[in-house]
């Protein structure tokens, strides 16, 4: 299998504090990777740097053949990297339908969007995604009126509209009921076919449901990597994280 993402020697410092420190991180094609670690381990910052929200101090981030550190957010997105934020970030004033529509990856320039028509093809895609994210009955509801969990799904749905090759999901089940968590695990397992996922999660039970390979970060550095069982047996991990 070939690599879709190669992060090498990545460091970022904020006023001298190194949030991520000399990190190497690799993701294969079609892989579903979970990243765990205690608060302040640098998980969110890592995703921020991959998707262009934060510029690294040093290091390289290669997505397929592209060097992401020299690109800005929308270019990275167009190259095929999708990002879901920790706090669900949807357009609250727009309906679910419009949220998905805007995320459709065509006509993203000014003139194209001015004379944009929602074709049958787009409508079908929206219906299909809405079905996947359990929001088929809510197409005309404003996103602001959805529950916290539904907003999380909607944001995943917006990424699905973009159809990225690499999806970065930051705490996708935060604020969800146990039933919703199961549904989400199912959803992630389903959508991981044909693309790579990097999931940050705190909920160990959830990680166990989806994880094949787990990366543990601690203080901006890679602490351990392996299957869930391997990681759980690792003494260093137990010390900083699982065993408290």
């Amino acid at each position: 299998m070939s690599l879709i993402l190669q992060v090498e020697d990545l460091t970022v410092s904020f006023d001298g504090f190194k949030a991520v420190d000399g990190l190497n991180f690799y993701v294969d094609e079609n892989e579903l990777r979970c990243v765990i670690g205690p608060n302040g381990a640098g998980k969110t910052t890592l995703l921020d740097m991959i998707c262009g929200k934060t510029k690294p101090t040093t290091g390289t981030i290669k997505f397929k053949m592209l060097e992401l550190t020299s690109m800005i957010e929308y270019q990275i997105t167009r190259a095929g990297v999708g990002r879901k934020f920790q706090n669900p970030s949807t357009y609250e004033d727009l309906t679910v339908l419009e949220n998905l529509d805007i995320s459709y990856p065509k006509k993203r320039n000014v003139l194209g969007s001015l004379f944009f028509k929602r074709t049958k093809e787009i409508q079908d895609k929206i219906d299909q995604v809405a079905e996947q994210i359990f929001l088929k009955d809510q197409l005309y509801t404003k996103a602001g009126l959805l529950s916290h969990g539904q907003k999380q799904w909607l944001e995943v749905g917006m990424l699905l509209m973009q159809d990225p090759e690499l999806m970065l999901l930051d705490e996708p089940v935060a604020g969800m009921s146990p039933r919703e968590r199961e549904q989400t695990a199912e959803l992630l397992n389903r959508i991981s076919a044909g693309r790579s996922l990097v999931v940050i999660e705190h909920d160990m039970a959830f990680v166990r449901l989806i994880a094949r390979k787990v990366t543990v970060l601690h203080q901006g550095k890679l602490l351990a990597e392996g299957t869930m069982d391997e990681v759980q047996c690792d003494e260093r991990v137990i010390e900083v994280y699982l065993g408290h």
Binding site: F14, D15, A19, T45, K53, T54
Partner: protein, 302 residues
Amino acid sequence: MTPEIFAMQAFNGLSLFTILVLMALGLAIVFGLMGVINMAHGELMAMGAYTTYATSLFFEKHMPALFDVYFLFGIVLAFAVTFAFGYAMERGLIRFLYKRPFDTMLATWGLSLVLQQVFRHGFGPKEVGVPTVSWLRGAWTPSFMPGASFSQSRIFIICLALLVSFCVYLLLFKTRWGLRIRAVTQNRAMSGAAGINTERVDALTFALGCGLAGIAGSSFTMLASTGPVTGQLYVVDTFIVVVFGGVESLLGTFLSAFIIGELQSTFEFLMTGSMAKASILLLVIVALYFRPNGLFASKVRR
């Protein structure tokens, strides 16, 4: 350029600096620390200037014997009046508009228009000047530079501005009250939970910023006469000083006021005053393009 002309040019820049730094420190406190955009800040300066003017009238009429010290009273009164007005303004207007910066801009702009008309009704449409007290009249000529002369009243306000800046620094960084202000502006909820009366801190901080504008007004009377729209002429410059310095840095504000004051007086050597002002504003806007967070900003995680 002879050393004399150079020194006097620099001195003129310093005089402008006093107004800019006092205005900008006040604004930096309400804008930088509290995030409030007060478009009536210039009118508060005018209020301070008019207060000084009214004090001079009062002393002239009722206490001519003490006339020589009216200016000192004028400064204190100008601070007190604008401080009180700022307190009332925060309680009556600003506090309803926190987190709505655009609305704050518009509402305070409205207030500034109302204040201008109040000044016009109270003091007439013409500009008024204050008499200079005897001990500030005249000029100082240093023995080593016989060709230059430095007006004593300007030397006085330069010292005043430096003193006030120093006091602001002490107040914010060396006292318990300053610690509270900084705590509240950094984490409101946490400060409230720690037992700080955040509403009171807000009101006092805002009032302090306004009071500084009042002192700026007092100083202003030593440089020029005051009219109803005097404040409006300074508000844009003051915002630019604060933004140029980096809104969160009081030291930045101080230095930026110095740079802009000196640049202004240098440019005035080459062109008319108004064109000098326009050129500097433009220069700063271009500079901001290269340093969007101002001259003295640090990198933080967004």
